[in-house]
């Protein structure tokens, strides 16, 4: 089974658009695939895929401290211990700022009068759904919650199990921006990362960082340049950065209003192709073919432990 993860570094470069286009192509070509949206705090792929939910589960991870005012003697030990500035003191009353609480439990375990409760934290919901392109594993983190790395790891396990069950040889994942916890978790075990990069100083800067992350974990990178005609010099620089890092550029898409229009129709760019969308769809099909060839190369297994 091969796992392909679409990433970008910078947000808003077109990860979801590209991932959905690849999903439609894989389906049209008869490849058995499981789709997965790993951008769990702001997931968007479901907007294009119109999922029919088959399984829905609450995601609980970690705990949050809470001070029981009936037991608290206001000794202040919790505030002294907290390394996350999450204990507030107002009018002589100590409370926990839940959004600041890191769930370490030190205040809970060391409160001299056991006044700090430590309930489990509900962080979101995850789903296994059917879509017109095949099964889809996705989630929604509750707004403001933590632990998106752990939820990402859980979704990947579910997607792999589903793929094994149905004999699929491909898991295609939409990733999240940045280079932190959720992205590291997304890349774990991937055969190939597809970086969607825009030819802007920010796009190149953030791509260089995420490519370094992939190199660190020995995951090969395919590069798709989006909005390539916005700045030809920057596009050339991205080619150079890619060549230097041994990454393959698998295609270039133009800056086009057709992308948003397909999104408004809730469609992938590679389905129900019109005369207008045909050039974009052809570029994406050629890119997908290269991506599949790269992912199929032997020895392409990343190795990261789940966080």
């Amino acid at each position: 089974m091969r796992e392909i993860v679409v990433i970008s570094g910078k947000g808003g470069t077109g990860k979801t658009t590209v991932c959905a286009a690849f999903a439609a192509l894989a389906h049209a070509q008869g490849q058995k695939a499981v789709l997965c949206d790993l951008d769990v705090d702001v997931p968007d792929m479901h907007i294009l895929l119109d999922p029919q939910v088959q399984q829905e589960e609450v995601f609980i991870s970690g705990n949050t401290a809470r001070i029981n005012p009936d037991l608290c003697t206001a000794c202040g030990r919790c505030a002294e211990l907290c390394r996350f500035d999450a204990v507030r003191l107002e009018d002589g009353v100590y409370t926990i700022d839940e959004l600041g609480c890191e769930g370490c439990g030190v205040c809970h375990k060391l409160c001299p009068v056991h006044a700090v409760e430590f309930p489990e934290r509900r962080c979101g919901v995850w789903y296994v759904s059917d879509t017109r392109f095949g099964p889809f594993v996705h989630a929604q983190l509750d707004p403001g919650q933590e632990n998106s790395g752990r939820l990402v790891a859980l979704l990947k396990r579910q997607a792999r199990d589903k793929a094994t069950q149905m004999g699929a040889d491909l898991v295609l994942c939409d990733g999240s921006p940045g280079v932190g916890c959720p992205v590291i978790s997304s890349l774990s075990g991937a055969a190939l990362a597809v970086a969607v990069v825009e030819p802007t100083p920010s796009g190149r800067h953030d791509f260089a960082r995420v490519a370094e992350l992939c190199a660190h974990f020995r995951i090969p990178v395919a590069v798709l340049i989006n909005k390539a005609d916005l700045n030809a010099e920057e596009a050339a620089r991205i080619h150079a950065v890619a060549a230097e890092g041994g990454h393959h550029v698998v295609g270039e898409l133009p800056f086009s209003p057709l992308v948003t229009q397909a999104m408004v129709r809730r469609q992938a760019l590679t389905e129900e192709i019109s005369i207008l969308t045909q050039p974009l769809a052809e570029t994406l099909a050629a890119a997908w073919e290269r991506v599949c060839a790269l992912a199929a190369q032997p020895g392409r297994q990343g190795g990261i432990n789940h966080l």
Binding site: V42, C104, G149, V179, S202, M263, V264
Partner: protein, 301 residues
């Protein structure tokens, strides 16, 4: 007055709006880039920056000869970073959140403080709108999973800077609605949400609103990329939703190839050539004054 510019969806225009506002602010200002995983504000504003100051997290290291193998540290760790290997504990420093619980409970003081590099803070100054202002940015070390501890260090540095020289703060936040974005927004007096009125942008905007509303800070909206062909319905839906939620839309910024072109060449659209630059300067000057009024009014209410 501290205003955090956030969005939910990545690429909605947080950095563009922050960079544009910097040039039109008309009061003492300090700029902060809190998108420490993918910091970009410096690429539009070109500050002069001093050498990066590395930031570390204090993590435990075992002093073998003092450890009696009592195992008191193991149950203190909520992150699976301590395991008993035979008679002695092992510390997985990469998984440590720096809570110091293990240090607290070790009866033998058999732990010493080691450091894990989280990233760096960079300080500098920038010229915008004919004025020079201080600039602070964080940058995570590639390979480091945890963003909030670096953001907390950035917050401490910001407090130091403001103690020496009080001013308004514009902070470019990380995308998303989970811990990095929430950590950055904790000190805000007001949150400005940049909304892209596409189906993806609208969905993520609603999540961002739900997340930031929990902070109890006033939230206002700027719509970006308004006027995309074939997208009028979604724009109207967003306006109606904001009206229903009583969220003021302080400005609507146009979708223009010239603006994207300026950004792609490392310039905020307010610095674009000709009519585009002029139009953006005017709209952003209006946004800046409405935003100050909004933050002031909301905090007096």
């Amino acid at each position: 007055m501290r205003i955090v510019i956030a969005s939910g969806k990545g690429g909605a225009g947080k950095t563009t709006v922050t960079a544009c506002l910097a040039g039109q602010w008309e009061r003492d200002l300090l700029l902060v880039d809190a998108d420490v995983e993918a910091p970009n504000l410096h690429l539009l504003l070109h500050p002069s920056l001093a050498e990066p100051e590395p930031v570390y997290l204090e993590v435990p290291e075992l002093v073998e000869e003092k450890c009696t193998g009592c195992g008191a540290c193991r149950p203190m760790c909520s992150y699976g970073a301590i395991a008993m290997m035979g008679a002695k504990p092992m510390y997985f420093q990469d998984m440590c959140h720096g809570c110091s619980g293990c240090f607290e409970v070790c009866p033998e003081q058999a732990l010493r403080v080691a450091q894990r590099e989280l990233g760096a803070l960079l300080l500098g100054s920038v010229s915008a709108g004919g004025k020079t202002m201080p600039f602070l940015m964080g940058r995570t070390r590639v390979g480091e999973a945890m963003t909030p501890p670096l953001l907390r260090a950035q917050e401490r540095k910001l407090a130091e800077l403001l103690a020496g020289h009080p001013s308004d703060v514009l902070m470019d936040a990380p995308p998303g609605v989970s811990c990095p974005a929430m950590t950055a927004a904790r000190g805000a007096d007001a949150v400005l949400l940049v909304a892209e009125p596409t189906p993806f942008g609208f969905y993520d905007f609603k999540l961002a609103h739900a997340a930031f509303a929990q902070l109890g800070r006033p939230v206002a909206v700027v719509m970006n990329r308004v006027g995309m062909e074939g997208n009028a319905d979604c724009e109207n839906e967003l306006r109606a939703w904001c009206a229903g939620a009583k969220l003021p839309i302080l400005a609507e910024l146009p979708f223009q190839r010239e603006a994207a072109h300026a950004y792609a060449h490392g310039l905020p659209p307010t610095e674009a050539q000709g009519a585009t630059g002029q139009e953006w300067r005017q709209r952003i000057a209006e946004l800046a004054s409405r935003l100050r009024e909004f933050a002031k009014g909301a905090n007096n209410a």
